[in-house]
């Protein structure tokens, strides 16, 4: 019949009108991001006392970063980085740094909401990137 397609279209919209909306009202309710979602990276700590970074400052992550946003410097005789900064203004969250680290020293988190008032606020140093909790056991290499 001539107008049947039009009527079916109207029926679809009317059914949508009486359904529950799917909006999640963002600042008040948040969607849970899956475990593998992209976010900040953090430096893992070992279980020595006092805990130190697992990172030894080898610089493989900085050499492999496509955007050149990691800066690593260390002194000759130490096994800890002296300067370790990540520029999150340029990072594209590709996670290559996590993949190539030979010491498994980086960890991926799901934090993605950060604001800053100037470009320098996005350059995070190693103190800001410390893991909040001390690592108690080795995780499986799923990261």
């Amino acid at each position: 019949m001539l107008g049947l397609g039009l009527v079916k279209g109207l029926k679809t919209t009317l059914r949508a009108f009486f359904s529950k909306p799917v909006t999640i009202i963002y600042p008040y309710k948040k969607v849970k991001i899956a475990d593998r979602g992209q976010g900040l990276i953090r430096l893992r700590m070992t279980q020595l006392n006092p805990p130190v970074f697992k990172c030894t400052g080898c610089g493989v992550c900085a050499a492999n970063c496509p955007q050149h946003c990691i800066t690593v410097k260390k002194k000759e005789d130490q096994r800890q980085p002296e300067i370790y900064t990540v520029n999150y203004g340029m990072c594209m969250f590709c996670r290559i740094c996590i993949d190539v680290c030979p010491f498994n020293a980086l960890e991926q988190t799901q934090e993605h909401e950060f604001i800053g008032e100037s470009r320098d606020a996005f350059i995070k140093t190693k103190e800001e990137l410390m893991m909040n909790t001390v690592f108690l056991e080795e995780k499986e290499s799923t990261d």
Partner: protein
């Protein structure tokens, strides 16, 4: 001494009427956003006020505060007067609509005729906006709107004539009174379909919003307007929607029947109008728009013959029934 009392009284009625009109436009904009939102599985505005009822007021305040830009090279006179002229038919028609048995601002013998004649004025404003904007998109939009509005007035008027034949008068209050036994949508279903479709085309609402087709010519005739001039066009569109649905409610749904009380009559009239407005918004959320030549085909080759046939059949039936009643 009595003349200034009369003037003051008229001014007061005018202000109340204008306030009612703008309030209606604001309510309709909010209703469109909410209805369209829920039909798309989302909510509309919800932030300002409970369920977002003050959203439109804040939008209007924002638009008022924007810079008044008059682009270089426009035809100054037409550019500046177009948003004002677009309101003239809308506000004038309000004077003739009967809200209840005795509540009508102006009651003349041929009010339906006058209303339909004034509705043709809205073409001028769109053409002024399209021409005066010094922009090719606007020109395209303006030319399309002339073609559209001209060709859809005729079926609308002829469909309304069917109602006039059945009621026996062109006065809007008389037509509403004559529907006390049965509403005219039942014998005039085809007429209602034609009138409603043609009036959606008159007010540039999807599926007929070709003059301001957003995806092709990026807002058509109102591309160069911003700030309060744009708000004027936007409000006028919704005021037109209200008028056209109110007219359809009077002609086909019985206006303020069955209540003769002023308050109940107004309420039931507004309820009927808002049901038709919901139908228009439902159609707006669902259908894509026509192309300009398919749309002219539809107007001239489908609606016009159908309306003529409707008129012919109605007049034959009215004649036969009259003769029948005359003999008895």
């Amino acid at each position: 001494m009595i003349w200034w009392v009369v003037l003051l009284w008229a001014l007061l009625k005018l202000i109340v009427a204008l306030l009612f009109i703008f309030l209606t436009a604001l309510v309709l904009i909010y209703m469109l956003r909410k209805v369209m939102g829920h039909m798309q599985y989302r909510m509309g505005p919800r932030h300002h006020g409970p369920h977002g009822i003050f959203q439109t007021i804040f939008d209007a305040i924002k638009l008022l505060g924007k810079e008044d830009i008059v682009p270089k090279g426009v035809d100054r006179w037409t550019y500046i007067w177009a948003p004002i002229v677009v309101f003239i038919p809308s506000l004038t028609i309000f004077a003739f609509l009967p809200f209840a048995e005795k509540i009508v601002a102006t009651d003349i013998e041929i009010s339906l005729f006058f209303v339909l004649a004034i509705m043709g004025f809205s073409v001028i404003a769109l053409l002024m906006a399209g021409w005066g904007s010094n922009n090719k998109y606007a020109l395209l939009g303006g030319l399309r709107s002339v073609a559209q509005l001209m060709s859809y007035e005729i079926p609308m008027i002829i469909a309304a004539m069917g109602v006039v034949l059945m009621a026996g008068s062109m006065n809007l209050s008389e037509i509403a009174r004559a529907q006390s036994r049965i509403w005219y949508i039942v014998p005039q279903a085809v007429g209602f379909f034609i009138f409603f479709t043609a009036s959606l085309a008159e007010i540039n609402s999807t599926p007929f919003d070709i003059p301001e087709a957003e995806s092709e010519i990026v807002a058509g005739f109102n591309i160069e307007y911003s700030g309060f001039r744009f708000a004027a066009f936007y409000l006028a569109e919704f005021v037109n929607l209200f008028i056209v649905c109110a007219l359809a409610a009077i002609l086909f749904l019985g206006g303020w029947q069955p209540f003769k009380d002023p308050i109940y009559g107004t309420v039931i009239f507004l309820v009927k109008t808002y049901v038709l407005i919901f139908l228009a918004m439902w159609i707006r959320s669902t259908f894509p728009r026509f192309r300009i030549d398919q749309f002219m085909d539809f107007g001239w080759k489908v609606l016009l013959p159908l309306s003529l046939v409707n008129l012919f059949v109605t007049s034959v039936v009215v004649l036969v029934v009259d003769k029948f009643k005359g003999n008895i």
